[in-house]
C-alpha cells in the first residue's frame, strides 16, 4: 500500500543497496512514519543504514581554543607592576565619580580605594587605589566584586589597579550606593535591603525599648515602631529620642536601612532628619492599618508588628522543662488562601481543638522561620482576636490547600508550605530509588555510614531526587516515598524486585524513561536559601496532554491554520 507513496525514496535506497527488497524498504519507511513520526526524508539515512552495512564517516577534529592566560590571585601582594590581565576578589571601599578631559573629550571616570581579602572579618588586608576608566556601572562602595581582566599600574613605587572598559566586574555582594539621602521620598514597598533613604509615612506603632549591650556594660534606650504609607509598612528603630504619636505623618530623611534576617528595618540616628509632614490627602490611620494586613505568602523571617487574618487548622499544647520547671508552649498550623505555616504561642489562647478550624486576626505578632518556613510567634493572648468567619470563601478547605506558584516565583520567593508548581523534569539523579537513612538523624547514609553518627544499619526509605526547570528557573525536587511509588505506579515489593532485576542504576534509568522531559505538577513545601531552591514534594504527577489538541491550540496561538 505504501510502496507508491515512498516510490522516490525506495528508488534512492535501491541506488545504494541494489540487493534490498523494495517491499522491505517500503515497510521500513512506513514503520518510521507511523510509529515514530519520522517523515521519509528524515528517515532516509536510518533506513539506508539498515540495508547497508559498514559505515564509518570521518568526523572533523575540533580545534583547541587558546585560553587567554589570566593571573588569578587572592591577595594584592601577589601582584607585580607588570601584570596585565589579573583576576581578584576585593571589597570596594570608596567609589567616586568625576569628569575628566581625556584627549579633548569630556569623560566620566571613577576612582577610589579597594581592599583585598574581602571575605574574612580579620586577617591582613591591603588597600590599593584604583581607577575605573569604563566607568563600570556596577561598582559601588561597600560591594564585594570579582575583577576580571584589570591591569596593575606602578608609579613611583605606588601600586594601583586600572579597570578598563573590557574588564569584567562580577558583583558578589551588593554594596550601598555612595549617594546619601536624596530628598525624594520613596514608597515603603520599594525600600532596598540596605542604604540611606527618604520616606513619608504615618506612625502606626511606637513603643520605648531597651537594647542590652552584649558585654553587659549597660543598655541603650531606643524606640521601636512601625510606619506606613499606601504601598506598605516598615518597622523602625530610633537610636535618638522619638516622641511622635501614633497617627502622626512624618517625613523621614536620611534613614538608614538595615536588614534583620530577611526583613528591612529603618534606623533613625543623629543624621536622620525627621519632621512632621502635611498632606491632607494622605491615607488616615484606619485605612493604613487595614491595608497593612499581610498574607502568609508575605511573611518574612525577622518581621515584627505583623498584622494578618489567618485560619488555625491545628493546635496543640506542648510541654518542655527549663531549669527544672515544666513550661508550656502551644503550637499548630495556620493557613490562608496564599499558603500555610506554623504558629506558636507562649500564652494559652482561648482556642480548643474542637473549634478548629477557627479564623483569627493576629495583631503585631513576630515572624521567625525554621528551615525557611515562617513560624508566627504570639507572645500574649491579647494579640489575637477571634473572628466569626473568614474574609475569604468559607467553603475553602485550607487544611490541604496547595497554592499554585510558578516555578520562577517559587525560586525567587521565600520558603513556604503548601504550594504546587509545574515544570519539566530535567534530571533524575542517580541516588533516586531505595535509600537508607541514619537511625539517629534520618540523614541519607553514604556507604552505610552517617557523617555524624557513623556506620549503622539505617532505615529503608524511598525517594526521587529530581531537577525541575520552567521558564528559566531551576529547582531541586525531592519526592517522598508515597508520591514516588504512586507516580511510578509501583508497590514497594514491585520496586524491590525491579531493583533486584535491573540494579540500582538500571532502575534509575527505568525511572528516567517514565519521567525525563515530562511536564509535571509537584506539591509540597519549598526551602529557598543561598544554595538555591528545593521542593520537598509529597505529591508528584505527570500532566497528561493530548498532542493533537495542543498542536491545534498552538497553531491558533501563532495564527496559522
Amino acid at each position: 500500500m505504501s510502496e507508491e507513496k515512498y516510490a522516490d525514496y525506495i528508488e534512492a535506497v535501491l541506488k545504494e543497496c541494489p540487493e534490498a527488497s523494495p517491499d522491505e524498504i517500503a515497510e521500513a519507511f512506513s514503520k518510521y512514519e507511523t510509529e515514530f513520526y519520522i517523515p521519509p526524508q528524515d528517515a532516509m539515512r536510518s533506513v539506508l543504514r539498515r540495508f547497508k552495512s559498514g559505515t564509518s564517516p570521518v568526523g572533523s577534529k575540533a580545534a583547541t581554543k587558546q585560553e587567554r592566560v589570566t593571573k588569578k590571585v587572592a591577595m594584592l601582594s601577589e601582584l607585580s607592576g607588570d601584570d596585565r590581565d589579573i583576576e581578584i576578589e576585593v571589597a570596594i571601599i570608596t567609589h567616586n565619580i568625576r569628569d575628566q578631559m581625556i584627549r579633548g573629550e569630556e569623560k566620566q571616570i571613577a576612582f577610589g580605594m579597594l581592599e583585598d581579602n574581602p571575605w574574612e572579618d580579620s586577617g591582613t588586608k591591603t588597600r590599593w587605589d584604583y581607577k575605573d576608566w569604563g566607568p563600570q556601572a556596577n561598582l559601588a562602595s561597600g560591594s564585594i566584586v570579582r575583577i576580571e581582566g584589570a591591569s596593575v599600574n606602578e608609579y613611583n613605587g605606588k601600586m594601583s589597579l586600572n579597570i578598563n572598559q573590557s574588564t569584567r566586574i562580577v558583583v558578589l555582594k551588593e554594596g550601598v550606593a555612595t549617594t546619601v539621602a536624596s530628598n525624594d521620598p520613596i514608597d515603603i514597598s520599594t525600600v532596598p535591603k540596605e542604604g540611606y533613604i527618604c520616606v513619608v509615612g504615618r506612625v502606626l506603632a511606637s513603643r520605648p525599648d531597651q537594647i542590652h549591650r552584649k558585654d553587659g556594660s549597660g543598655s541603650i534606650d531606643v524606640v521601636r515602631g512601625r510606619i506606613a504609607d499606601e504601598s506598605g509598612t516598615i518597622g523602625f528603630l530610633s537610636w535618638e529620642p522619638f516622641d511622635h504619636e501614633v497617627g502622626t505623618l512624618l517625613k523621614i530623611d536620611g534613614a538608614q536601612v538595615r536588614s534583620f534576617r530577611d526583613t528591612p528595618e529603618l534606623n533613625f540616628g543623629r543624621t536622620t532628619k525627621i519632621e512632621v509632614f502635611h498632606d491632607a490627602n494622605f491615607s488616615d490611620l484606619d485605612t493604613l492599618a487595614d491595608s497593612t494586613s499581610q498574607t502568609i505568602s508575605q511573611f518574612r523571617d525577622g518581621s515584627r508588628d505583623v498584622d494578618a487574618v489567618v485560619q488555625i487548622t491545628e493546635w496543640a499544647r506542648r510541654s518542655f522543662t527549663k531549669d527544672g520547671v515544666e513550661k508550656f508552649l502551644w503550637s499548630g498550623q495556620i493557613a490562608d488562601p496564599t499558603g500555610r505555616c506554623r504558629m506558636s504561642a507562649w500564652e494559652e489562647l482561648p482556642i480548643s481543638e474542637s473549634d478548629l478550624p477557627i479564623t483569627v486576626r493576629l495583631k503585631a505578632v513576630r515572624v521567625r522561620a525554621w528551615q525557611g518556613i515562617p513560624d508566627v510567634t504570639v507572645d500574649q493572648a491579647a494579640q489575637l482576636e477571634i473572628l466569626e468567619k473568614p474574609p475569604w470563601d468559607a467553603e475553602l478547605d485550607l487544611t490541604n490547600h496547595a497554592v499554585e506558584v510558578s516555578l520562577p516565583d517559587m525560586v525567587s520567593g521565600a520558603s513556604r508550605v503548601g504550594l504546587e508548581t509545574t515544570g519539566f523534569i530535567i534530571s533524575v539523579r542517580e541516588d533516586s530509588g531505595l535509600i537508607r537513612r541514619c537511625t539517629e538523624c534520618r540523614r541519607v547514609l553514604r556507604d552505610g555510614a552517617c557523617a555524624d553518627h557513623g556506620a549503622n544499619e539505617g532505615n529503608e526509605d524511598v525517594r526521587l531526587r529530581l531537577v525541575v526547570d520552567d521558564d528559566g528557573a531551576s529547582a531541586a525536587v525531592l519526592v517522598n516515598k508515597e508520591a514516588t511509588l504512586k507516580v511510578l505506579g509501583l508497590s514497594l515489593e514491585q520496586m524491590h524486585s525491579a531493583i533486584e532485576e535491573h540494579g540500582d542504576l538500571g532502575f534509575v534509568q527505568q525511572v528516567r524513561e517514565s519521567l525525563l522531559g515530562r511536564r509535571i505538577k509537584a506539591s509540597g513545601r519549598s526551602i529557598v536559601d543561598d544554595q538555591g531552591a528545593m521542593l520537598l514534594a509529597d505529591g508528584l504527577e505527570i500532566i497528561e496532554r493530548d498532542a493533537q489538541l495542543r498542536a491545534t491550540e498552538l497553531r491558533a496561538l501563532w495564527g496559522w491554520v
Binding site: D8, A12, K15, E16, Y32, E33, E35, F36, Y37, I38, P39, P40, Q41, D42, M44, R45, S46, R49, R50, F51, K52, G54, T55, P57, G59, A62, A63, K65, R68, T70, A74, E87, E89, W119, R168, V170, K173, I426, S427, E430, D469, G472, S474, V508, Q509, E513, L516, G517, D530, Q531, G532, R545, A547, R550, A551, L554, R555, L557, W558, W560
Partner: protein, 310 residues
C-alpha cells in the same frame, strides 16, 4: 573561601535548527563561570533538553586511547551533534554502547536528552555547536510529540520576544526597562549585536513542520525527496570535489524550491547531511552565486538560474 554558589543553569527546550544555526558564545574568564551558546532567537543556553531520532551513534578511539561516542539526533528541523566520552557517567556510556549497536542494525530509537552545550571555533573562525549529554533515555512517540510541542511553544515565545526587542534601543538600559522576559534580556541583546538581521521565516517553516509532525500529519510535512546520490557512510569529506559539491547544491535547491527559492540553512543542512563539510558548502554556494549559476532573489534565499544539463 566563602563564595556564592553558582546557580544551576536552567535547561532550554531547543529545536535542532535554532541550536545548530547559533554562532555566538560567551564564557566568563573565571574558572567556574558557565559557558553559553547564544542562539539567533536570543536564548543564552548552557543546558538543553532535546529529543529526536537517534540517527547515528558510533564509537571511536581517541588518540589517548579512550573511547568516544559520536552521535546525531534528528528532530523535524535538523540535527543535533553530540558526543559521549570518559567524562560521562558509567550509565551514559553503557547506554551509548547499547544504542550504537542497535542503531547499527537500523533500529529506530527515539531519545530524550538533557545536555550541556558546547561550541568550538575552527581556525577560519567558523563556530560549530554540539552537545554533551548528561542524561538520556528512550521515549515513546507520544512523549516525543508532546516534547516537540513544548519546544515549539518555547521557540514561539523566543520569536515573540525577539520581535518585541527590535522595537527597543539596542542598549542594556532600554532592555532592562522593557517588559521582555527577565531571563532573555542579555541573550536577546547579545544576539542582536552579533547576528545580522535575523530572518524569522526559516523558524516559522520549521515550527510548522514540527507541529505537523507532532500532530501526526506527516503528509503535510513531507517535502519532495532528495533523489540525489546519498552518501555512502564511508564517504571521506576531504575527497569533496567541487563538482560533486556543486551538483549536490544545485540538486538540493531544485528539489526544495517551491517557487520562492530555498533558504540558506536548508541548502547547507542538506549538503552537510550528504557528507559535505558545511563550510565548504557555504563557500561553494557563495562562489556559485557570484558565478551566476545561482541567484539570491532575497537575502538568504537561493534559486537556480540555469538548470545544468544532466
Amino acid at each position: 573561601m566563602q563564595r556564592p554558589r553558582v546557580a544551576r543553569q536552567p535547561a532550554f527546550l531547543l529545536l535542532a535548527s535554532e541550536f545548530g544555526s547559533a554562532t555566538l558564545n560567551e564564557k566568563g574568564s573565571g574558572e567556574y563561570d558557565p559557558s553559553f551558546v547564544i542562539t539567533k532567537l536570543g536564548a543564552k543556553v548552557n543546558r538543553v533538553i532535546v529529543a529526536g531520532l537517534l540517527e547515528r551513534l558510533e564509537m571511536r578511539e581517541t588518540s589517548n586511547g579512550s573511547t568516544l561516542f559520536q552521535g546525531q539526533l534528528r528532530d523535524p528541523t535538523g540535527l543535533h551533534y553530540f558526543s559521549v566520552g570518559d567524562y560521562n557517567s558509567e550509565m551514559m556510556r553503557e547506554l551509548s554502547n547499547q544504542w550504537s549497536e542497535r542503531t547499527e542494525l537500523g533500529e529506530p530509537i527515539l531519545l530524550m536528552m538533557t545536555a550541556k552545550t558546547r561550541w568550538y571555533q575552527t581556525d577560519e573562525g567558523a563556530v560549530y555547536t554540539s552537545l554533551r549529554p548528561e542524561e538520556a533515555c528512550e521515549i515513546s512517540r507520544d512523549v516525543y510529540a508532546n516534547w516537540l510541542l513544548d519546544a515549539c511553544q518555547s521557540t514561539m515565545m523566543r520569536m515573540k520576544a525577539l520581535t518585541a526587542s527590535l522595537e527597543l534601543e539596542p542598549t542594556m538600559e532600554a532592555y532592562q526597562r522593557s517588559e521582555l522576559p527577565e531571563g532573555m534580556k542579555q541573550g536577546l541583546l547579545a544576539s542582536r549585536n552579533h547576528y545580522e538581521e535575523v530572518d524569522l521565516e526559516p523558524f516559522n517553516l520549521h515550527l510548522m513542520q514540527a507541529l505537523d509532525i507532532a500532530e501526526g500529519r506527516i503528509e503535510a510535512a513531507t517535502t519532495p525527496p532528495p533523489v540525489v546520490r546519498l552518501p555512502d557512510g564511508g564517504g571521506d569529506p576531504s575527497a569533496d570535489s567541487d563538482d560533486a559539491l556543486d551538483s549536490c547544491i544545485l540538486q538540493v535547491i531544485q528539489h526544495f524550491d517551491q517557487g520562492e527559492g530555498v533558504d540558506f540553512e536548508t541548502v547547507l543542512k542538506n549538503a552537510a547531511a550528504q557528507g559535505f563539510i558545511r563550510e565548504h558548502a557555504e563557500s561553494a554556494l557563495e562562489r556559485m552565486t557570484d558565478g551566476g549559476t545561482i541567484q539570491e532573489p532575497r537575502f538568504g534565499w537561493f534559486r537556480v538560474v540555469s538548470s545544468p544539463e544532466e
